[in-house]
Each structure stands twice: as C-alpha cells, then as structure tokens.
C-alpha cells in the first residue's frame, strides 16, 4: 500500500515533467513533418504528414543548407576532438594529483574550482583575442581548444574524486609487483576508471556538440562552422523556412540522444560517483 502510494506520487511528478520536456520536442517534430503551408496551422497533427523536409536537408536543397554535411561533419569532428582531448588532459591530471600525489595538486584543484566562478560568456572576448593572436580564428582547432579549456576543470574534479575512491592498496600492490607509474596508469588505473572516463568523455563531447556562443565567435566561414551556428543562420531572414529548420534541428539532436542512450549507465554512475562518499 505504502509502496503503491509512493509509486503514484512519483508518477504524479514524473508525467508533468515528461510532458513539459517533450512538448517542445514534439513541436520540432511536428514542424519537421509538415509542409510549408501547414506548418503554422496550429493543428496537433498535420493533415498530410511528409518526410520531404528531411529530403531537402539531406540533399542540401536549400540556400541555408548548402554546407549541411560539411557542417555536421565539423560538429562531429569538433565534439570528438574535444571529448578526446579533455579526457587526455583530465585523466592525466587526476592520476597525477590523486595517485602520484604531485606537489601543488591541491592548488590545481582549487584553481579548477575557481574557474567556476567565471561565467563562460565572460571569457568569450578574451578567448577571441587569444585565438586571434595565435592565428587560429576560423580554424576548427580554436573552438576545440576553447572547449577543452572550459570542460577540463569540471572533468578534472570529477575524475579526481573518482580516482580517490580507488583503493590505495592497488597502487601499492602494483608498485611491489614492479610497476612503474606509467605501467600503473596504463594497466591498473585506466581499466578501473573506464566508467568515469566514458561519462566524462561523453560530457565533454556533448558540451562541444551543443556549443553555440564560442562557435559563433571563433568560426565564421560557412565551411568551418558547426551545425549549431549553421542552424542559427536560418533566422537571418524575415521569412525563415521553419519546417526545414526544424527538420535540421531534429537531425542535429539525434546523435547526442543516441550517445546519451548508449552510455546512460555510465552517465548516471560516473557523474555522481565521487560526489558523495558511499
């Protein structure tokens, strides 16, 4: 009885939240399967649902979509690069601070925490100047480097916390067994950290995939921008092709959903692991 009541209360909260979340997505979907004339009809289901909009997108048959495949490739390239680089930086930092106990580790952790006090938007202009002086503007690497900078502090924190939970005896056993720090890292540390690494890699990847502000600032050629910026270009005219924009948006939203779904087990475990001492 008690269990039933608790279940009912969960549903009572869950269903409105679900509807609230799905409503905009439903609208995107609705637009994307409507023809241009019926897009604004206000109906909950179009009279003649069509997939033609997706065809327009995939065949790049619209002025705003001439670089669709190039831009989605840019998004992918940047997101993967950010994920990999952030992982590399944060894993090494977490290992050095948590397991090798390098001097100044605490200071690095505090500095990483401090960066949270600075909003990302605040750093946009300095970042633009910095990238300009390195001659990286309009180069995908500028966005990659900027995003790695933004993602790393959080990644280091989470991975450091997760590292701290690995039993210390494992390191000692490995040292006695004859492992050098690098062997310890490769053969013991990395395999045991896999769930957290997947979670943090996904986090950084999605952060970069969804980024707009920095992408907009640092990249401006049609051929270098990611799709997030490309999407915004649709709104440049008064008569925006909403049905095509929404179809593109839906395509753009699928990879993160797929990634999240594939790694959901790690995401829940990994991002909360280390948050509390269990």
């Amino acid at each position: 009885m008690n269990k039933l009541a608790r279940e009912a209360r969960l549903w009572l909260v869950g269903i409105p939240v679900l509807l609230w979340t799905l409503l905009p997505i439903y609208h995107i979907f609705l637009f994307s399967i409507s023809s241009k004339d019926s897009a604004f009809s206000g109906a909950l289901w179009p009279d003649k649902p069509t997939l033609r909009n997706f065809g327009t997108v995939f065949r790049e048959e619209h002025f705003y979509l001439h670089h669709f495949w190039e831009q989605i490739w840019n998004s992918l390239w940047i997101a993967v690069a950010v994920g990999v680089l952030t992982l590399a930086v944060a894993t090494c930092a977490a290992f050095a601070i948590s397991r090798l106990k390098v001097r100044g580790g605490r200071m690095v952790m505090n500095a990483a925490l401090f960066t949270y006090f600075i909003p990302a938007a605040f750093l946009a202009v300095p970042m633009y100047k910095a990238m300009g002086s390195y001659g990286l503007l309009n180069n995908r690497w500028s966005l990659v480097l900027a995003m790695v900078t933004l993602a790393s502090p959080y990644a280091i924190w989470v991975l450091k916390q997760a590292s701290d939970r690995l039993p210390w005896e494992l390191d000692e056993a490995a040292r006695i067994d004859g492992a050098t720090p690098l062997q310890l890292f490769r053969l013991v540390y990395l395999p045991l950290m896999t769930p957290s690494l997947v979670a943090i890699g996904t986090y950084a990847l999605l952060l970069a995939w969804n980024e707009y502000l920095y992408a907009f600032l640092l990249l401006s050629h049609e051929e270098t921008i990611p799709l997030s910026v490309g999407l915004a270009h649709f709104l440049a005219s008064d008569d925006s092709p909403w049905e095509v924009l929404m179809a593109t948006a839906l395509v753009y939203g699928l990879p993160p959903a797929a990634i999240y779904y594939a790694f959901r087990r790690y995401m829940v475990g990994g991002l909360t692991s280390g948050a509390v001492k269990s």
Partner: protein, 347 residues
Amino acid sequence: MASVSFSGIEKSFGRTRVLHGISLDIADGEFTVLVGPSGCGKSTLLRMLAGLEDISGGTIAIDGRVVNDLESKDRDVAMVFQSYALYPHMTVRDNMGFSLRLRNEGAGIIGARVAQAAKILDLEPYLARYPRELSGGQRQRVAMGRAIVRDPKVFLFDEPLSNLDAKLRVAMRAEIKALHQRLKTTTVYVTHDQVEAMTMADRIAVMNEGRIEQLGEPLQLYDRPANLFVAQFIGSPAMNVFDGVFRGGAVEALGARWPCSARAAEGQALKYGIRPEHLKIAASGIPAQVVVVEPMGAETEFVVSIGGARLTLLAGGRSAAKPGETLFVAPQAADAHLFDAASGTRV
C-alpha cells in the same frame, strides 16, 4: 631467501614519532611475527621494509644489502595485504602473473609459474574467474599466489586474515604455516591477534608504542614475559594481574598470601600475575566466589571474585559449580609472574 635486518629504525609522521629506534634481525627462512595493539607501529615497520614508507632514521638490509633507497620493485619482496588488493579487472590468472608480465617474462614461463602456484594453493579451478566471483578465503589465496609466483626473497603479510571469518581464519592460518614449511621463504607477518602470532611464528616481536617490548619464541614469551605489557598481551584468556606487596617470601594481595618463586625486597610494591589455567581449583586454598561460568566443552572458564577483584580461571573438563558458590584456588609458586609495580618489568 634472505635474512632481514632492521637497525635503529625510526619513523616520524610530521612531528609524531611512531617508531623509536627498532633493531631486529630475522634469519634466513625464519617466520617472524610482529604483533601488538593497533597503532603500535608494526604495520609501519612492515611497510618500510616493503618500500611503501620512507625511512626517517636507521637502516634496513635484505640479505646484507641496505635497501633504504631502493624502490619497492627492486627489493624483491612480495606483500599480501589485509584487503587482498587484487586487481578487480583481471582474472585470477592475470592477477597472479601480473608481476611476471611487468618483468617481461615469456608467456610460457608465466603460465608455468602461475600453474605451479595455483596447484600449491588449490586455485586451479578458479584461474579464469575474476576476484569478485571468489569467496574471501579464495581471494586471500590468490593474494598469496601472487606473492608465491614471484619467488621473492621475503614474504610480507599485513594482517592477511583480519577480513576472514573465525573459522576460515583458523584454516588459512594452518595453510600459511604449511606454505612456509614447504617454501621456507623468510616471512615477516604482522597481526594484532596474539593467537595468530603464537600459532604461526618461529619468533614473535611484541610491539607497543613504537618499540619492541620483547622478542622471542612463542612459548618463551608465554612462559617468561619480560614485562607487564607482554604478560597481558600474550595468552588468551589474558593473564590475571593485581597489585600486591612482597612480604616473607610471598605476595600479600586481595586479602590472601600468593606464593612465588622470585624474590623481591621486603615491602616492595609488586604486580602479581598468574595465568587463568594456573589458578588450579583445590580442596582448600584461597576462597573464590564464582561469578560467571562459561562451559566450552573441553574446558570451563570461570570469572571469580577474590578479595573484590575479578579474576579469570580456566579449568580442564566440566564443572558443576554454579554462580554464587565458593571455590578454593591453589596457585603454585612456579607459575607466578612478578612485575615491578612502577616500571612493569619482570622481577
């Protein structure tokens, strides 16, 4: 196989000194147990030998070679941890072969050595399993297997049985002892359990507050404890100790005269110690009121009250005595241990 020698070993954590100049020589092939209450520094001493803690002062030598500045991996020691410290992502086979793999041994040699160790430890059916699929005792055996495979100069055990239940602990105790008798590798074993120390050791070093209180063979420690600490630490149930005064060849305490063979100055304040099994029940003697009776089958343990103090008494066989009854105990002079009341050293 090798000898191990500690000389003048000191250790400080910040300003806290935990080891005060420990010197101890362990012979080749010897099984030495470091025993003491928690915080006495026994684990720290072992970890210094393993190379896991820096040495603040003194030298440690293995086989006559000072190892103070050697890395763990270059000391040729193998350690078994209390928490087993098995690599969770490796099978039993990979766990046991890990050290050989790090030394770039060929697959054939690794396979053969692991198989040999698995045979010694009865682990053959479990080689393909992961640690999480094993019971506590099996994990402990894998940890030992990991040590054996390396054929090290010295085995180090850091409270290896503390995580096991009582029954398994007794079984593993025998296994470790049998293993040592078979391999004859020099072994340093740390425990807080004096029963483990007594049953396994060739020699025991009883430690307290960063010092070795006494070093000797198990029964030597049991029969002639050098001081009050060792007397009360070694033996289960613990030795009865109470205050008394030496007068006329015996100790006056708890309203009775207690015989002793040691001699002290007339009127000297002493601690009188007698083990529970030496408080023999007799037809006449010192009256003792029974408080608790604990029958254990082969023997019976009593808690008795003598002159207001609670003493433990261990008698063979079974007893019909009930709480509230009065027994008589007849201690023998040869069984008595006298300690100076102030310093605690044996008289």
